[in-house]
Amino acid sequence: MTSMTREEWQVVGFTARMAVLSTLLILPFGLAVAWCLARLSWRGKALLETVVTLPLVLPPVVTGLALLKLFGRWGPIGRWLYNWFGLDVVFTWRAVLCALSIMSLPLLVRAARTAFEDVNPAFEQIARTLGASEWRIFFTITLPLAKRGVLGGMLLAFARALGEFGATIMVAGNILGQTTTISVAVYQHVQLGEDAHAWALAGVSVCLAFMAVLLGEILLLRHKR
């Protein structure tokens, strides 16, 4: 087994950072959507459900293509970002973050929604009679009681982000040191016949995933107590 090059370690670090960042980025929005789906009902609720789930069932490359068109310098969002903030998204680390977020959002939302639905509404109602605001109820009752499910969802989202390939390569490309993630690097090594490098990276990604799941289990156990 060849030892990992500096560039490869850089790729690993970058991927892990992006995965953590995207999980944290989608957390507020994902929890808000999950809560709405679990606790409210309105006309067109099914539409939101579908839109949020879509990245889970679409071919990732198709999601990537859509992001490419949306965030490109001539796309509706990309143009706006460029004109107002001078920000380029496509083929930068921002595109990686964007792809990972969109791809892992459904997993977080689905897990958190189930977790919120499992919280007996009687607790929230009692809190209301005790004068607590809806915000306070969410943070002191609903979220703590749903934390196992929410943590599980975050873990899934993180794992999904670690391994994302299709959408990332479409919207962020493969620019070593800037947008290359583990999955993309492994693919490229195999393409170039550098199997040893591919294996090394694969090993590292297994370790990362293993540690993430283990950490999650430990956190859950401690909360269960």
């Binding site: 007996n120 009687a122 607790f123 109602q125 009692i126 809190a127 209301r128 009679t129 005790l130 004068g131 607590a132 605001s133 306070r136 002191t140 009752i141 703590p144 009681l145």
Partner: protein, 362 residues
């Protein structure tokens, strides 16, 4: 300063029951209004509407001069601002918080010292000392009930709503807490509305009674009044205890308790009660035997001289109204009634065996 609740509303469910309440009124500080009825009669829904957790589609709920609900003008005060203490049937204690945190939950925003003092006060009052750090699942049923009560009282609510407060408890605990609960509710100085399907609980805890049947509040009045003079057959069926008379314990000896009720002395088979205890004396109409003519020797411990006041036939039976110093109802078969030749004004002897005189301490 305490005010009373006054509510008239209707709440219906698309594929379910329709709950109607008319002129529900609490009876002032320290009193308990019992919502009494079989399970499924809509009692809990009424409480939830009063707490603001359900929205009736029609009606008005007022508390003092405050408007809580006016369906017509689409006014609805959220539960947060009603100042109501609500204890649901399963208590719904927050499972992830300690006893102390559960009780103090509503005191968020108050200075720490003040919060601790208030929690401490309730912990002492309700006998929860030493349990402050426990989680709800580490408590017994009776302890949970008291924690739920403390949590509901911590903000000094203006109205207390209790949903079957004793039904989740085992029988001995229930007996014990029933007496305590009565004392606590009296001491609070705010009106309480309590839901129950247990006759004993209704009698022991209620100052006034509202009978619910199939979603409707069918009768409201003082406890003896509703039991003795049910407004209709539905109420009679729900209460199924025709005579309820306030009495005073005179003495307890050899497993028997002597009670003064009206001008009569009654003997009941009941565990000892302290002399001077206020009780309700309850007698079912079918347990009363009527004797006419010469004095008899009978095994019955209670023989009351009575005058027939009314006879109302109900199919194969006749309901006989009697005055024996208090109003007593007897249920006889038509045959028996004819053989005795009963008519209003007749003097009779009403016999009731000691085990059939039910006492409910107040």
């Amino acid at each position: 300063m305490s005010a009373d609740l006054h509510a008239t509303f209707r709440k219906s469910y698309p594929a379910g029951p329709r709950i109607e309440v008319e002129d529900l009124k609490t009876a002032g500080p320290g009193t308990t209004t019992v919502l009494f009825g079989a399970s499924g009669s809509g009692k809990t829904t009424v409480l939830r509407c009063l707490a603001g957790l359900e929205r009736p589609e029609q009606g008005i709920i007022r508390f003092g001069d405050e408007l809580w609900l006016d369906a017509h003008s689409r006014t609805m005060l959220p539960p947060q601002r009603r100042g109501v203490g609500f204890v649901p049937q399963d208590y719904a204690l927050f499972p992830h918080l300690s006893v102390e945190q559960n009780i103090g939950y509503a005191l968020n925003g108050k200075p720490r010292g003040q919060r601790q003092d208030r929690v401490r006060q309730l912990v002492e009052w309700l006998g929860l000392l030493g349990l402050e750090q426990r989680r709800p699942r580490e408590l017994s049923g009776g302890e949970r009930q008291r924690v739920a009560l403390a949590r509901a009282l911590v903000r000094r609510p203006r109205l207390l709503l209790l949903d079957e407060p004793l039904s989740a408890l085992d029988a001995p605990t229930r007996e014990r807490l029933r007496g305590d609960l009565r004392q606590w509710l009296k001491a609070l100085g705010i009106p309480t509305i309590l839901v129950t399907h247990e006759r004993t609980e209704a009698l022991a805890l209620g100052d006034q009674l509202i009978v619910m049947d199939a979603g409707r509040a069918v009768q409201q009045g003082s406890v003896p009044e509703v039991f003795s003079r049910p407004a209709n057959l539905a109420v009679a069926g729900v209460v199924s205890m025709e005579t309820v008379q306030p009495g005073l314990v005179l003495e307890s000896a050899q497993g028997l308790v002597t009670v003064a009720a009206g001008q009569s002395k009654l003997i009941s088979l009941h565990p000892p009660l302290a002399a001077g205890t206020e009780v309700y004396v309850c007698i079912r109409a079918e347990d009363v035997v009527l004797v006419k003519g010469d004095p008899v020797r009978s095994s019955s411990r209670n023989a009351l001289s009575a005058v027939v006041t009314a006879l109302s036939p109900e199919g194969p039976v006749v309901r006989v109204g009697l005055n024996c110093g208090f109003a007593l109802t007897a249920l006889l078969t038509k045959n028996a009634c004819e053989q005795l030749g009963l008519k209003p004004g007749d003097a009779v002897l009403a016999l009731v065996k000691a085990p059939q005189i039910h006492l409910i301490p107040r």
